[in-house]
C-alpha cells in the first residue's frame, strides 16, 4: 500500500530552540514563497500546544475530512497549492488547551505523519514547537524512513536565543538530521517615520553561530510590522508586500533551498 508521504518530494523541518522567535512565521512565509515559485507545498504543524499555522492562512475555522487514504489536509485556496494539517483544526473551541503529556502527543504526531493524505507535494514543511522534547523526537523518528531534506533553524539575534539554537544544533547532530542552515529572524527594525534602523534584539548572533557551527547562514529577516499584520490577518505577505524590507530576505532564503534541492537531485 502506497504510503501517504510517497508523493512528497522534499521534507523540511523548521526548528528553533526558543519560542517566540518566529518559526511559524518563517514556515508560513517559506510556504508562500515556494508557492510563488510554482511549487506545491504542505505544512504539517506539530506544535500541539500552540498551533499557529491555521490562523496564519485564515483557515482556522475549517474542518478536517476523512477519505479512503486517511485525513484530507485543509487547502488554503482554490488552487490547492498549499495544504495544511494542524491540531488547530481538530479542536472544538479555538481556546481549548491541549493539556497532554508526552505519550498522547507522540501518538497524534505518528498519526499526522502516517494518516494525512498529502497527495503529490514538492515540499512538506514541518513546523515544530520550541525545544528538543517529545514532539521533536517523535517527529524525527516518524519521518526518518522518508529521508527528510533537512532542518532550518530559526533564531533571533540575541545570545539568549542563540544559546538555545546551539542545543537545537546538537539535537540535529544526534538525530542525524541535516542542517540546511540558520535564519536570523527579527534582525533589525527600520523606523517607518525616520528610516533609522535599530537592532532591537541585537544583531549578528545567528550569523556568528552559523560560522561557529559550520552550517550555512541563510539570511537575516528584519522586523516588519507589515509582515506581522499580514500574518495576523491571514493575508499573503509575499504577494502584497514585495517592496517590504523582509521580502528580499525571504526570497533569498527560498532560493537557497531551491538551489539546494536542485543540487541534490543532480
Amino acid at each position: 500500500e502506497r504510503s501517504n508521504l510517497a508523493g512528497v518530494r522534499h521534507i523540511l523541518l523548521v526548528l528553533s530552540g526558543k519560542g517566540g522567535g518566529g518559526k511559524s512565521t518563517i514556515s508560513t512565509e517559506l510556504a508562500l514563497s515556494l508557492r510563488h515559485s510554482g511549487k506545491k507545498v504542505g505544512i504539517l504543524d506539530v506544535d500541539l500546544c500552540g498551533p499557529s499555522i491555521p490562523r496564519m492562512f485564515r483557515v482556522q475555522d475549517n474542518d478536517v475530512h476523512q477519505c479512503d487514504s486517511g485525513w484530507v489536509p485543509v487547502f488554503v485556496d482554490q488552487d490547492k497549492s498549499i495544504s495544511l494539517m494542524s491540531i488547530g483544526f481538530l479542536l472544538e473551541k479555538p481556546d481549548d488547551a491541549v493539556v497532554w503529556r508526552g505519550p498522547k502527543k507522540n501518538a497524534l504526531i505518528k498519526q499526522f505523519v502516517a494518516d494525512v493524505a498529502w497527495g503529490d507535494l514538492d515540499f512538506l514543511i514541518v513546523d515544530t514547537p520550541p525545544g528538543t522534547s517529545d514532539e521533536h523526537i517523535s517527529t524525527v523518528e516518524a519521518l526518518r524512513p522518508y529521508k527528510p531534506l533537512g532542518a532550518i533553524l530559526v533564531t533571533t539575534p540575541q545570545a539568549v536565543s542563540v544559546g538555545d539554537v546551539r542545543r537545537e544544533l546538537t539535537f540535529c547532530k544526534k538525530t542525524g538530521l541535516r542542517v540546511l542552515g540558520i535564519v536570523e529572524n527579527m534582525s533589525g527594525f527600520v523606523c517607518p517615520h525616520c528610516s533609522e534602523c535599530t537592532n532591537i534584539f541585537s544583531k549578528g548572533g545567528g550569523e556568528e553561530l552559523a560560522k561557529h557551527a559550520g552550517v550555512p547562514f541563510l539570511g537575516c529577516v528584519p522586523l516588519d510590522p507589515q509582515l506581522s499584520q499580514s500574518l495576523e490577518e491571514g493575508r499573503d505577505f509575499i504577494q502584497e508586500f514585495p517592496k517590504s524590507s523582509a521580502f528580499p530576505a525571504l526570497a533569498h532564503i527560498t532560493q537557497q533551498i531551491l538551489d539546494g534541492t536542485a543540487q541534490q537531485s543532480s
Binding site: G17, K18, G19, G20, G21, S24, C49, G50, S52, R55, P94, D95, D96, A97, V98, V99, W100, R101, G102, P103, K105, P129, P130, G131, T132, S133, D134, I137, T156, Q158, A159, V160, S161, G163, D164, R166, R167, E168, L169, T170, F171, K174, T175, F189, C191, P192, H193, C194, E196, T198, N199, I200, F201, S202, P225, S228, Q229, L231, E232, E233
Partner: protein, 360 residues
C-alpha cells in the same frame, strides 16, 4: 573536580531558630559583586555535571531521592526526607507564557523582586527570592542572570541553588550541563523526574517568593509543577504575551489551562508593547494588536492586565550580558512598567495571604 573560589556560589543560609543558628556566608561567584565580608567557608562538593544525552544515570529517577546518586564524587550524608520542604515558602508565582520568547520581561521583573528593597549589610527587611527554571530543554535563566558556567553544589541539606545576590538564588538544568552545546533531549517522564528533584532536593532556605519559569505550552512541565506544588500552595500564575493575536491565541489556552488545574491567575503582562524610536522618538507598533491586544483579551476573559512593557533594545542587551536591566536603565519606560507590575503582584500576594490568614 576542584572547588575553586571562582566556582563557589554565594549563599546565605538562615536556619530556623530551632536548628543551628549560624549564618554561613560563602564568597560570591564572579558574576555578582563581592560584598567584601565572609564569615564561614563551608566545604562543598559540586554536583558532577552529566552529559544530558538521554543517558539515565539514576540522577533523575524520582524514586532515588538522593541527588548525585551514582555520582563519582560521593556524598557523606543524605538530603532531607522526600516530600516537599516548603515550610518557609511564602509566595510562589508561576510564570507562564503562551508562545514563548517573552523571557526578557520575566527576567526583568524577577530581578526587581530582589532589588526592590535595598540590601544594606545591616539591612533588615529584604525579600528572599528564588527562581526555579523548569524550561528543561531551553534553560535561559543562567545566562540572563550572568551565571553561565556556575555549578550546583551539594551538602548535607541538599543541592545549593546558585546565588546572584544575597537574596536571589536560582536553580536551572543549565547549571548541570557541561557545555553550552549540550542538548537536553528528554521525553516527558524524565523531565518530570528532574522537576521533582528540583523541588525536593534543592535547599532553598527560607524564601519569600519562589518564582517558577516555565517553557511555552501546556504540557508535562506545567502539569507536573502544578501537581507537585499542589501539596503546598501556588499563589498564582503570571502569564506573558505579546500584543499579537498569534500570541494571544496561545495565551487564551494558558488561561484555560489555569482554570482546568485550578491555578489562580494573578494577571497577564503584555510584553513588547510598542517601540519608541531612539532617533525620532515616534512610537511604532512592531507587533500590532490587530485584535485589541492583551487589554481586550483580559476584559473578555475577566483577568487582570498587570501592565504593558514596551520594547527597549537595552533589555535584550542586558539579558545577553547577564546584567540587571533595571539597574542599567533605571530611567527607561520599560523599567517603570516592570516596577509597577511587580508592585501589583506583591499587592495580590499580600492580599491573598491576609485573606488566608483571616480564614485560618
Amino acid at each position: 573536580m576542584a572547588v575553586g573560589a571562582s566556582s563557589m556560589a554565594g549563599t546565605q543560609q538562615c536556619f530556623n531558630q530551632d536548628s543551628i543558628a549560624r549564618t554561613l556566608y560563602i564568597g560570591f561567584s564572579h558574576a555578582a559583586p563581592s560584598r567584601g565580608y565572609r564569615q564561614f567557608v563551608l566545604e562543598r562538593r559540586p554536583v558532577p555535571r552529566y552529559a544530558v544525552s538521554g543517558l539515565n544515570r539514576g540522577r533523575t529517577s524520582p524514586s532515588s531521592g538522593r541527588p548525585g546518586q551514582g555520582a563519582t564524587s560521593g556524598r557523606a550524608s543524605s538530603p532531607p526526607a522526600p516530600g516537599l520542604c516548603f515550610g518557609a515558602l511564602l509566595a510562589t508565582a508561576a510564570v507562564q507564557c503562551g508562545s514563548g520568547g517573552e523571557t526578557p520581561t520575566q527576567r526583568g521583573w524577577k530581578q526587581s523582586c530582589a532589588s526592590l528593597f535595598p540590601v544594606g549589610w545591616d539591612g533588615w527587611f529584604v525579600f528572599q527570592v528564588a527562581l526555579l527554571d523548569i524550561d528543561i530543554c531551553g534553560p535561559s535563566i543562567p545566562k540572563m542572570m550572568g551565571l553561565e558556567g556556575e555549578q550546583v553544589h551539594q551538602s548535607g541539606s541538599g543541592w545549593s541553588p546558585v546565588y546572584v545576590e544575597e537574596n536571589l538564588c536560582v536553580m536551572s538544568v543549565g547549571f548541570l550541563l557541561s557545555s553550552p552545546d549540550d542538548a537536553v533531549i528528554w521525553r516527558g517522564p524524565k523531565k518530570n523526574g528532574l522537576i521533582k528533584q528540583f523541588l525536593r532536593d534543592v535547599d532553598w532556605g527560607e524564601i519569600d517568593y519562589l518564582i517558577v519559569d516555565t517553557p511555552p505550552g501546556t504540557s508535562d512541565e506545567h502539569l507536573s509543577i502544578v501537581q507537585y506544588l499542589g501539596a503546598t500552595h501556588i499563589d498564582g500564575a503570571v502569564i506573558i504575551t505579546t500584543p499579537q493575536e498569534v500570541s494571544l491565541q496561545d495565551v487564551r489556552k494558558e488561561i484555560n489551562f489555569c482554570h482546568k488545574v485550578k491555578l489562580p491567575i494573578i494577571g497577564v503582562v503584555e510584553n513588547m508593547s510598542g517601540f519608541i524610536c531612539p532617533k525620532c522618538k515616534n512610537e511604532s507598533q512592531i507587533f500590532p494588536p490587530t485584535t485589541g491586544g492583551a487589554e481586550k483579551m483580559c476584559q473578555n476573559l475577566n483577568v487582570s492586565l498587570l501592565g504593558k512593557v514596551p520594547l527597549d533594545p537595552q533589555i535584550g542587551k542586558s539579558c545577553d550580558k547577564g546584567r540587571s536591566f533595571l539597574s542599567e536603565a533605571p530611567e527607561s519606560p520599560a523599567t517603570l512598567s516592570y516596577r509597577n507590575i511587580i508592585q501589583r503582584i506583591q499587592e495580590y500576594c499580600d492580599q491573598h495571604h491576609f485573606h488566608e490568614e483571616k480564614i485560618i
